[in-house]
């Protein structure tokens, strides 16, 4: 019997495994040429990854440039970051004591930022093997940004999720209904000032057991059973 797996598959492509940082620099150049001042900052970690930040006004246009000029036609994800430190800490406060003082300074990560909320997305170039993480500041007063649905069709559900979780509006999105939460849900759960209710009703019991790591008590080498291969 001839099996289907005996049939030849598509010819295997030869890929260059070394992702070239020059390609990443080329991405920044292409974005700068197309967006001008719209491209605010970029970070390239050598032989690892890259981040760019654009202004909210060119968010959609930047997506188009990434898709058509840079060739990142694979849509990975879209979401948002709330950079405000949580007023509840990590939910481990003693409920009987007054809440401790916390640092409330907003400090953004790579490529900086000016606002509390940022949208960010990742797209990938499948032929040259690199991905780009792109961020944009979302205005604090009226958190809204242009929709990517017309650029990447897959952004549809991601924007619905971001909308219900962070309260960011996506202008031009055809259908911004809730995707996970009930329709009448109030509040935006992934914002840092939304309390995690499970921790509110039942306080954190504290660290009760700490698992020992191998070789933690003794200075001996951890025993490696010699397996005959």
């Amino acid at each position: 019997m001839v099996r289907l797996s005996d049939a030849p598959a598509s010819p295997e492509l030869v890929h260059d495994p070394v992702v070239n940082d020059k390609v990443r620099e080329g991405v920044v150049t292409a974005l700068r040429a197309a967006l001008g001042d719209g491209l605010i900052d970029s970070v390239i970690k050598p032989n690892d990854d890259m981040w760019v930040r654009v202004s909210a006004a060119v968010w959609q246009q930047a997506g188009r440039v990434l898709r058509d000029t840079v060739g990142c036609d694979y849509f990975c994800f879209l979401s948002a970051i709330d950079w405000m430190p949580s007023p509840y800490g990590r939910g481990e406060d003693d409920p009987t004591a007054p809440p401790p003082e916390r640092d409330t300074a907003i400090k953004q990560g790579y490529t900086g930022g000016e606002t509390r909320m940022q949208v960010f997305a990742r797209v990938t170039n499948l032929t040259k093997h690199f991905g780009v993480t792109i961020k944009a500041d979302v205005p604090d007063a009226q958190p809204s940004v242009d929709s990517w649905v017309t650029v990447y069709a897959g952004a549809n559900w991601h924007e619905r999720e971001t909308h219900e979780m962070f309260g960011i509006d996506f202008r031009g999105h055809p259908d911004l209904r809730n995707i996970y939460l009930p329709t009448d849900f109030e509040g935006y759960p992934l914002r840092k000032d939304f309390p995690l209710l499970a921790r509110m009703v039942k306080p954190w019991p504290g660290i009760v057991d700490v698992e020992l790591l191998p070789g933690d008590d003794t200075d001996d080498e951890p025993a490696v059973p010699a397996e005959p291969a």
Partner: protein
């Protein structure tokens, strides 16, 4: 190039017009059919609302959220080592594979690398998760199409793999075995020999499945040419894994990225299929299962000796920074965008799960198909509810 969304909008208008015509001209009514939330074809509580014109789907809309557990919020009150217990439950059929990208992201931020032996064992367990996950798919696929035998075979042979995972990690379903800097324990004695025997059984299982299912005429006629997703659409929706490769896109994160796993030490073939139909998606998964058994065999032949744990501090604080790591999980690209502020726990974790993107193409691909094909298309796209809802 017309934008995909424009086309989508046009076809949506056309669908609404067709719906209106149904009522007015022919004095017939369209029907809204609710598939799920509990339906065998949905592998969990996914609800699909389809509007029907006779036997044909006018539009379809998945209803999610029956199992949303808010893991992205929960990670913010956990320490880094605790997060693995959460993410185990995302794709529960291939649990170990969920832990790996998160741990790799944390290691990347800490600039720690697991010892070679840990990396190899991670890769072996990763591939075993793939086999456990996809072998169940092959059995379940038969059930969706009316063949009862394959599911019994699949459950029987998957059990061998789960026993191996249990033997190495102590957990059948939720191993929680990966640690920052390495693994919890080394492999037990005799595990390698047994794994090799099981891999032979699994290859035999793949052959049987191929003869029993994939060569079957009814099976082929139910899947060939049904639910075609072109490469351009697949990429725009972010389909990944076998669903993407079935559309002819040669992209596999095991081969195409630099990652601290042992995939660059083994020879394996990345299967693609030019058709993009339901059959192609199922066929790719079958080939990948067989390929995974070969990867496991090669890895077992060359596991280096040494420790399975790097020197890491007892209380793990991850330095400030952002990292994205994704791996080729059984269902597709699974990745974590981890932001740390130098604390015990992550500041924010964005979980990119494969099924969420894979299933977002459903409204597009179900338009115009017949009702029985809805089931086979959903089965061939293959999703795990925990992987959609997170």
């Amino acid at each position: 190039m017309t934008d995909l969304a424009d086309r989508q909008k046009l076809s949506y208008i056309a669908a609404q017009a067709a719906d209106a015509r149904l009522n007015v001209e022919l004095e017939t009514e369209g029907m809204t059919l609710n598939i799920g939330p509990q339906h065998p074809a949905t592998l969990g509580t996914l609800r699909i609302i389809v509007r029907l014109d006779g036997e044909q789907v006018v539009w379809a809309e998945p209803g999610l959220g029956y199992m949303h557990r808010g893991y992205e919020k929960l990670t913010e009150v956990r320490t880094f080592p605790q997060v693995t217990a959460l993410v185990n439950r995302i794709d529960w059929l291939g649990s170990f594979a969920n832990e790996v990208p998160f741990i790799l992201a944390a290691e990347k931020l800490m600039e720690v690398e697991a010892p070679p032996r840990a990396q190899w064992i991670r890769t072996v367990l990763f591939e075993l998760s793939r086999i456990a996950n996809v072998s169940l798919f092959l059995g379940d696929l038969g059930v969706q199409l009316g063949a009862i035998t394959p599911v019994f075979m699949a459950f029987r042979d998957r059990e061998y793999v789960l026993n191996l995972i249990e033997g190495a990690t102590g957990g059948r379903f939720h191993p929680n075995f990966d640690r920052i800097g390495g693994l919890k324990e080394d492999l037990p004695a005799g595990w390698i020999t047994e794994t090799k025997q099981v891999m032979k059984k699994l290859r035999n299982f793949c052959d049987q499945m191929e003869d029993l299912l994939f060569g079957n005429e009814i099976f082929q006629s139910r899947l060939r040419g049904i639910g075609v997703i072109p490469a351009e659409v697949a990429k725009q929706y972010g389909l990944s894994g076998p669903n993407l490769r079935a559309s002819g896109v040669d992209w596999d994160l095991r081969r195409d990225q630099k990652i601290a796993l042992a995939y660059d030490k083994v020879q394996f073939k990345v299967w693609t299929h030019p058709d993009g139909d339901s059959f192609a998606r199922c066929w790719i998964r079958l080939q990948e299962t067989r390929e995974a058994t070969k990867i496991v065999d090669q890895l077992l032949d060359g596991i280096p000796s040494g420790s399975v744990m790097a020197k890491v501090p007892r209380i793990i604080k991850v330095p400030e920074g952002e990292a994205w790591v994704s791996t080729e999980n059984p269902l597709g690209e699974m990745g974590y965008y981890v932001i740390s502020k130098g604390d015990l726990g992550p500041f924010r974790v964005k979980i990119r799960s494969a099924s969420f993107n894979n299933i977002s193409v459903v409204p597009w691909v179900l338009r115009g198909v017949y009702v029985p094909d809805v089931i086979s298309i959903l089965a061939s796209l293959y999703f795990i509810l925990g992987d959609i809802d997170r």
